[in-house]
């Protein structure tokens, strides 16, 4: 019989190495999958992991796809470190897009450089407020934040579709459920001309730096880590657990909301019911793949973005089915979690005891 036994001291080296090993294992298993589907595995892996770097437009698209993932994952990682599980970033993303987008639409057709900052504040505030619901319920009633935040995702998505079918609908749009296109003052500036890479990319990079400083140089970062590793010790040290809950959920909500507003005011340019495409959920994978470390998250966000963009190219050039790409992405998390188990536990084969 197989049995898992906790290791006394998980290897630090392996903790850093496993994300890389997980990516390699995914390449191998994915290659086998693609081969079974009758495609050349080496070519498929090359198209997914290398080709997006060779094409200038795809390179900028990596930034477009990676920025919201990194921004959200940075926020989530703070909570995850403190054992606070915000699974509803997707909902906070949607509310942020709604709040920011509605603000932009409210000022239509005014112009001015102040509009975007106001939209960004509204977006972050929207995400923050949405995340405060599970935070309040956890602090006040000890409600499970995983369930509450997850359920609120569906509420947020329905709210978005109700609003774009009603009050926010484009008056000239034949009743189709979408808002009008944002005007120029409400659209994010492009940082690389000819591409869709927008100012939100810079904010995502800044969030990495700020999170790094917070976690390594600031007492709040220390308190967050302590709360996660030793809640009792944290309480003795005078850390207010409720405050940490509010800060972690609030920050992750605000960052997700900001990411949502960037998405609406950036690549999409309007509010549409299909705005949420799962960034909030994928960011959970990114956070873990990056080992909850800001630099790691930056790299992990890049890898995930790569699988999306490369995956589309593979569909286009090799006619790989979309489901195969989803399976491929799923494998990544699977291998990572499986290897994590092997780091913290050792497998023991228990022999039948002789009487």
């Amino acid at each position: 019989m197989l049995r898992l036994e906790p290791r006394r001291r998980p290897s630090k080296l392996m903790l850093g190495l496993t994300p890389v090993l997980a990516v390699i294992a995914t390449m191998i298993a994915g290659g086998i999958l693609f081969a079974i589907l009758g495609k050349n595995p080496v070519e498929a892996i090359r198209i997914i992991f290398i080709d997006p770097f060779l094409d200038p437009f795809s390179r900028t698209e990596l930034l477009v796809k990676g920025a919201p993932l990194v921004l959200i994952a940075i926020g989530l990682s703070l909570g995850f470190r403190a054992n606070i599980w915000n699974i509803g970033a997707e909902g906070q993303f949607v509310i942020g897009a709604l709040a920011g987008g509605a603000t932009g639409l409210a000022f239509y057709p005014m112009e001015g450089i102040w509009i975007l900052p106001v939209m960004a504040i509204a977006g972050a505030a929207g995400g923050f407020a949405w995340a405060m619901i599970p935070a309040f319920l956890k602090i006040r009633f000890n409600a499970n934040e995983i369930l509450v935040s997850l359920m609120l995702v569906y509420v947020a998505i329905l709210l978005l579709s109700a609003l774009v079918s009603g009050p926010l609908r484009d008056p000239d749009g034949f009743n189709f459920p979408e808002s009008r296109l944002f005007h120029d003052s409400a659209t994010l500036p492009i940082i690389i001309s000819g591409s869709r890479a927008h100012a939100g990319v810079l904010v995502a990079l800044a969030s990495v730096v700020i999170a790094y400083v917070l976690l390594n140089r600031h007492v709040l970062g220390y308190q967050i880590k302590l709360t996660g590793q030793a809640p009792k010790a944290a309480a003795f040290a005078g850390v207010n657990a409720n405050r940490i809950i509010a800060i972690c959920l609030g920050t992750s909500g605000a960052l997700a909301g900001l990411a949502g507003m960037f998405e609406a005011a950036g690549p999409v340019g309007q509010l549409v019911p299909a705005l949420p495409v799962g960034y909030g959920f994928t960011a959970i994978i990114v956070a873990f793949l990056g080992r909850l470390n800001p630099i790691g998250i930056l790299l992990a966000g890049g890898v995930m973005a790569l699988t999306y963009i490369g995956g589309e190219t593979a569909q286009l050039t090799l006619s790989l089915p979309a489901a195969a790409i989803s399976v491929f992405q799923g494998m990544l998390l699977f291998f990572l979690l499986a290897m994590d188990i092997l780091i913290t536990y050792r497998v023991r084969i228990r022999r039948t005891e002789v009487a």
Binding site: F176, P177, G194, I309, E312, A322
Partner: protein
């Protein structure tokens, strides 16, 4: 700046290549398709892919087709369309309404690539639009539904309250009401085009309300499967769906994109492609009525066939007055038929339908 230049060079190179290839007469015409669902949805995207296969069959070696499936109508659509445009496609079909703005955006950047957007209303010199007058099919199956229901309750699984869907509900209701004055419509909005789980839930909810015939304006055969299980009737939507409800299926509205796709590809090959707005019904063959089930009595089959023939002959319009709007205000006078403009922007129920249009 450098990047823009590279891009411009890459784009011109791609265009130049195909251009030269065309003059040469050997290179293949490259046609791309973007689908909102998986090609295995057995509904909307499946039928578009059948259209793609018709193109392959018609032109063989002279054509190369590609497709990307399950592309959400959000931020990713523009990138996928652009990747296609950039990789040397001559003609690109974007087959869902939500691709409209991204298609227009990309089309501006690639003036030499031809685009065709399904079900939208924005065109450009290199962007055509096309759609089917599926409401004509609703008139035929609405009649059958009105005749076949015993509980006088017909269920309708609707996706989004856009004109296309509202038009279908109205056309089906008018036909059913004419066939059976006691008929009542129960409408469920599921806010999705393709979600078998939600569609099945909606079907079950309708059946609990006493519905014994189900129509749908969503893409999966989930409702058909439920109808088969529960022993009631349903109609195939977008594709025939017979295999999902051998007993339940009465008939179907089939989207037959093949002939249109073939003619558009031919136009690109001949250099005669122009931006057009196509809205074809049963007569040109874009909308087809699936074979009638033998569960439908012969006289009802004959009536349905007569309705279809009258539509084909141009003698019958699905919206012929007198018709009032839901609130009782007159819309069409006796004998008057609806104009396309009103149909394309339809945002009201006709008189007799209960419930409010979600807004």
């Amino acid at each position: 700046m450098n990047f823009v230049k590279t891009l411009a060079v890459a784009a011109t190179a791609a265009v130049g290549l195909t251009g030269a290839a065309f003059a040469d007469g050997h290179e293949k015409t490259k046609v791309g398709f973007i689908y909102v669902g998986p090609v295995g949805d057995f509904g909307w995207s499946y039928e578009h892919d059948q259209g793609r296969k018709a193109v392959v069959e018609a032109f063989g070696d002279k054509v190369e087709t590609t497709y990307v499936e399950s592309v959400p109508e959000g931020p990713d659509a523009e990138r996928v369309i652009r990747q296609m445009a950039q990789s040397g496609h001559d003609l690109i079909f974007t087959t869902s309404f939500g691709y409209m703005n991204p298609t227009i955006k990309v089309a501006k950047q690639f003036p030499d690539v031809k685009f065709e957007h399904a079900t939208g209303y924005q065109r450009a010199d290199n962007v055509s639009t096309y759609s089917g007058r599926f409401y004509e099919g609703r008139t035929v199956i609405g009649h059958i539904a009105g005749k076949m229901t015993e509980t006088n309750k017909i269920g309708y699984i609707a996706s989004f309250p856009i004109p296309e869907v509202v038009r279908g509900i109205n056309a089906a209701y008018l036909a059913a009401k004419k066939a059976n004055p006691d008929v009542e419509f129960k409408i469920v909005w599921v806010s999705t085009w393709f979600d078998p789980g939600k569609e099945a839930d909606a079907a079950n909810a309708l059946i609990e309300q006493g519905v014994d015939v189900i129509m749908q304006h969503t893409d999966s055969p989930a409702a058909m499967t439920i109808a088969e299980e529960k022993g009631i009737y349903a109609f195939g939507q977008a594709s025939d769906m017979k295999e999902f409800g051998p007993n339940a299926r009465l008939s179907s509205i089939i989207d037959n994109w093949g002939p249109y796709y073939v003619s558009r590809v031919q136009a690109v090959m001949d250099g005669t492609w122009e931006s057009t707005d196509t809205w074809d019904g049963i007569a040109p063959g874009l909308t087809e009525i699936g074979e009638f089930s033998d569960k439908i009595p012969a006289d009802v089959q004959a009536e349905a066939t007569a309705i279809k023939d009258a539509i084909v002959a141009g003698e019958l319009h699905s919206f012929t007055g007198p018709i009032n709007k839901q609130d009782g205000t007159p819309w069409l006078a006796e004998g008057e038929t609806a104009d396309d403009g009103t149909l394309l922007g339809m945002n009201f129920y006709v008189e007799g339908i209960e419930g409010e249009l979600p807004n």
